[in-house]
C-alpha cells in the first residue's frame, strides 16, 4: 500500500544556480525505488540555524511523495551517499491530524448554530472590556 510521505532536502549551497540537475538526480532516486513525486516546494537558498557539514547556507526543497513503505529505507540509503544532498528528512504525513486541525479552524471561522449561545456570552464580555478601555482614557 502506498502512502504519502514528505521529503525535505538541503542541497549544497554552491548548487543554487544549477539546482535543476541535482533535483533531477533526487527525483530519479525516488522514481527508481518505485516512488512518485506529487508536489514540490522550493524555498531557495537560506541560512541554516547551525553549520551543516561545514556550510552556513543550504538550498531548501520540499517534496510530497507517494511511496511504498519498504522503499523509504532504500531511498534513505541512496540519499546518504549523494554528494549534492547535505541533509534530508523523510516523514510520513499525518493526514489525520492535519485534516482535524483544518476542520477545527474552519469551525472557528463560521461557528455552527449550536455554538451561538457561547457567542452572545463572548459579546457581553467584550462590552465590559470596552467600558474598561473608556475608563482608562
Amino acid at each position: 500500500m502506498k502512502s504519502t510521505y514528505e521529503l525535505a532536502v538541503l542541497y549544497h549551497p554552491d548548487l543554487e544556480i544549477d539546482i535543476d540537475k541535482a533535483e533531477a538526480k533526487v527525483s530519479k532516486i525516488v522514481t527508481d525505488n518505485g516512488g512518485e513525486v506529487t508536489n514540490k516546494e522550493s524555498w531557495g537558498k537560506r541560512k541554516t540555524a547551525y553549520p551543516v557539514k561545514g556550510h552556513e547556507h543550504a538550498v531548501y526543497v520540499f517534496y510530497a511523495l507517494e511511496l511504498e513503505g519498504a522503499s523509504v529505507q532504500k531511498i534513505e540509503s541512496v540519499l546518504n551517499i549523494t554528494d549534492e544532498v547535505i541533509r534530508f528528512l523523510i516523514v510520513k504525513q499525518d493526514e489525520k491530524a492535519q485534516s482535524k486541525a483544518a476542520s477545527f479552524r474552519a469551525k472557528r471561522k463560521n461557528p455552527d448554530a449550536d455554538e451561538r449561545p457561547e457567542r452572545t456570552e463572548r459579546s457581553e464580555r467584550s462590552h465590559r472590556s470596552d467600558r474598561n478601555e473608556e475608563g482608562e482614557r
Binding site: 525535505a8 538541503l10 541554516t48 540555524a49 547551525y50 541533509r87 516523514v91 486541525a101 469551525k107
Partner: protein, 68 residues
Amino acid sequence: MTKKVTRETTGSIFFDYKDVKTLQRYVNQYGQIEVRKRTGLTEMQQRRLAKAIKRARHIALLPFVANN
C-alpha cells in the same frame, strides 16, 4: 515564579515542522522547548509540538542551542 498561561484553544492544533514562525513562539531564547505550563497546550498538542520542533532542528530550521 513562572506564570501559567491560559489555554489557547480547546481544539486540536497541527504543528508543521516547516512553519518556523509558529514553532519559534514555543522555544525560549536559548532554543529550548518551553514547558506545558508556559505553552498552555494540552498533553497531546505538546507532544506533537515537541516532535515538530525536533524535526525542524534536524533540517536546521531551528537551532539546537542558540546563544545570541
